[in-house]
Amino acid sequence: MAINKAIAPANGVLRRAGGFASFAQLFRIKGLNMSVDEKMARRIAMLSRIGVNDEQLPALANELSAILGFVEQLSEVDTTDVKPLTSAVDSIMRMRADEVNDGGYPDDILKNAPEKDDEYFAVPKVVE
């Protein structure tokens, strides 16, 4: 398997140049020991679509670092060949007939919209 080039700048933002090898695979990390700096906090806020101003960043970075430091303990656990558990109760996804069985009440759907136009949700202009 080809190892892809990874660029890990000092601020902790990791970019991978193509390929599918994960960070964990690349570095065989035991503990990530990754503390979040302000630049990273800004990036996570951007990915989360939450507006954050510069004054909030130091505190946010600290809080996120503390939480990630706490979860760091997980790296002590040997999980070799352990299958991830996504659902606690065994269940099979049920199929249903591929037919419309609900809908046809746009007024109800739009009732809570902050802004609407006729039978549509209205948003700020997206296309110039």
């Binding site: 679509r49 946010l60 706490f70 997980l74 002590e76 558990l85 009440y105 902050p114």
Partner: protein, 491 residues
């Protein structure tokens, strides 16, 4: 009947069936009590007109001999359950005055059985918290007070539900539990809190926090009441893809009091450092009660217990970051205008989400982002399997587990809000149960030196609610907990 608000659910049901009281009288008594209890801040919305309408309809059905299982029983509903035509906010600003055009399946089941809605109950914003201090409507005050009449938290996230039941502002209440949000508040208020097996109650119409962990359940005065509530709330629902097609038993009938020969496991890893001696003693007391009732006590090991909280604080935020992506200011809730659509999203979410919710969304976003997904999210899911496997192994040796519910009694308002991690530790004994999808119940079992209630937790096998309730009934009976907070808050 002098004190209508002192009736348990079973007591009220029987009094209604015997025509000793009417649903209207019972509802009016509770509404009057709720109206005087603003100091507790348990209700975020009172619906007295609707309640009286529902109570009159119940009286009509009672007169015709068509009573449902919960006919005329006035309940409070956690504000996480969507209620048709009644504002539902998850106690977050981002939902504004959202008024669902639909009803959650769990509450629909309760109304179909004749229950009466008194109003919507306070909770931590999006159920993220262990003290009910992150609500947009402000904190709930525990009806139990500490030394020098200090004000305490009622636990969280279902703090409105626990406070309401403890103060008799409803015969019982609905609640939800993602990491301990039913059991911990129950322990803090001297009430019974039951988190059913994952998939037992439909999640449809319940505001989502972490979908693989969220589960609805009741907070009640007694174990018998919890059994009655669960029977109504539970059941298959085609609208929830994870709901299970499995019959709902008569849980109340399971309360035989006979646990002879039952094997009760005591997990060694729950004996944590710095556990107050009172909690330790209460646990031993619980062991003795069950032994006296004819149960066999078995030492078991759940070796990955200490990794449950760290795994939870990846998995739950990861799921939350995905679930809460829907709050974008477009379809419902509040909108904060911006220069363009991206700015509108970011401004709306910044203005609408509280600090704890922002923290969790960001932790989850980070854990799911490219480059970190395997190291954090997949790792946490692997540890989750090890935790579930621990329980499976323990259940080869025992039928049910006994542990404390919380590492302490209720703490003062504002005591733990400065440190998110300190707050997270509240769930150390409860969170494993959600990760493994098992049922758990907290039963009031004693009081500490300050006179505050303490709870014992029982953990069952998946869909083993009948056995769980049976053992809980034995603990309840042996403990004989009759403590009740004074009505200091009543004006």
């Amino acid at each position: 009947m002098s004190e209508l608000t002192e009736l348990t659910l079973a007591g009220a049901r029987d009094a209604l069936a015997d025509k000793q009281i009417t649903a209207r009288e019972l509802t009016e008594a509770h509404l009057a009590r709720v109206a005087k209890a603003d100091a507790l801040n348990a209700y975020v919305l009172q619906t007295p007109e609707l309640a009286l309408q529902m109570a009159d309809a119940s009286d009509a059905r009672l007169a015709k001999g068509e009573a449902g299982k919960l006919e005329g029983i006035p309940l409070g509903v956690k504000d996480l359950f969507c209620t048709k035509g009644v504002r539902t906010t998850a106690c977050s600003n981002i939902l504004g005055d959202f008024t669902p055009p639909y009803e959650s399946t769990v509450t629909a089941n309760l109304w179909a059985d004749g229950a009466v809605m008194l109003g919507k109950l306070n909770n931590d914003e999006f159920a993220m918290g262990s003290s009910n201090e992150t609500s947009r409507f402000g904190p709930v005050i525990n009806p139990w007070r500490g030394a020098g009449d200090s004000q305490l938290v009622p636990g969280g996230s279902s703090g409105g539900s626990s406070a309401a039941v403890a103060a008799r502002l409803g015969v019982a209440a609905t609640a939800t539990d993602t990491g301990g949000s039913i059991r911990q508040p129950a322990a803090f208020t001297g009430t019974v809190g039951l988190k059913p097996t994952y998939a037992r109650c439909s999640r449809w119409g319940v505001v989502a926090f972490a979908s693989s962990l969220d589960q609805a359940g009741p907070i009640t005065q007694t174990v018998q009441d919890a059994a009655i509530m669960l029977e109504s709330m539970a059941g298959f629902d085609a609208k929830d893809a994870t709901s299970i097609e499995r019959d709902v038993p008569n849980y109340e009938a399971a309360l035989t009091g006979d646990i002879r020969g039952l094997r009760v496991g005591i997990p060694a890893e729950y004996r944590v450092d710095n556990m107050p001696s009172e909690i330790e003693e209460l646990w031993q007391q619980g062991i003795d009660w069950l032994k006296q009732a004819g149960a066999e006590i078995v030492d078991v090991s759940l070796p990955h217990t200490k990794y449950a909280l760290p795994a939870y604080y990846i998995i739950a935020p990861a799921e939350a970051s995905s679930n809460l992506a829907r709050y974008d200011g477009v379809r419902y809730g509040m909108r904060e205008n911006g220069a363009d659509i991206d700015d509108m999203y970011a401004s709306t979410r910044a203005a609408g989400f509280g600090d704890e919710v922002v923290r969790r969304i960001m932790v989850g976003t980070y854990a799911l982002s490219a480059g970190y997904y395997d190291a954090y999210y997949v790792k946490a899911l692997q540890v989750r399997r090890l935790i579930a496997d621990d329980f499976a192994k323990a259940y080869e040796k025992c039928d049910v587990l006994l542990t404390p519910t919380t590492p302490s009694a209720a703490f003062p308002i504002g005591d733990q809000t400065k440190d998110a991690l300190q707050m997270y530790l509240n769930d150390v004994f409860t969170v494993t149960v959600n990760l493994a999808g098992l049922p758990g119940i907290s039963v009031p079992a004693g009081i500490d030196a300050q006179g505050l209630p303490l709870g014992l937790q029982l953990i069952g096998k998946a869909f083993g609610e009948e056995e769980l309730l049976r053992v809980a009934g034995v603990v309840e009976e042996a403990a004989g907990f009759t403590g009740k907070a004074d009505d200091w808050w009543s004006v």
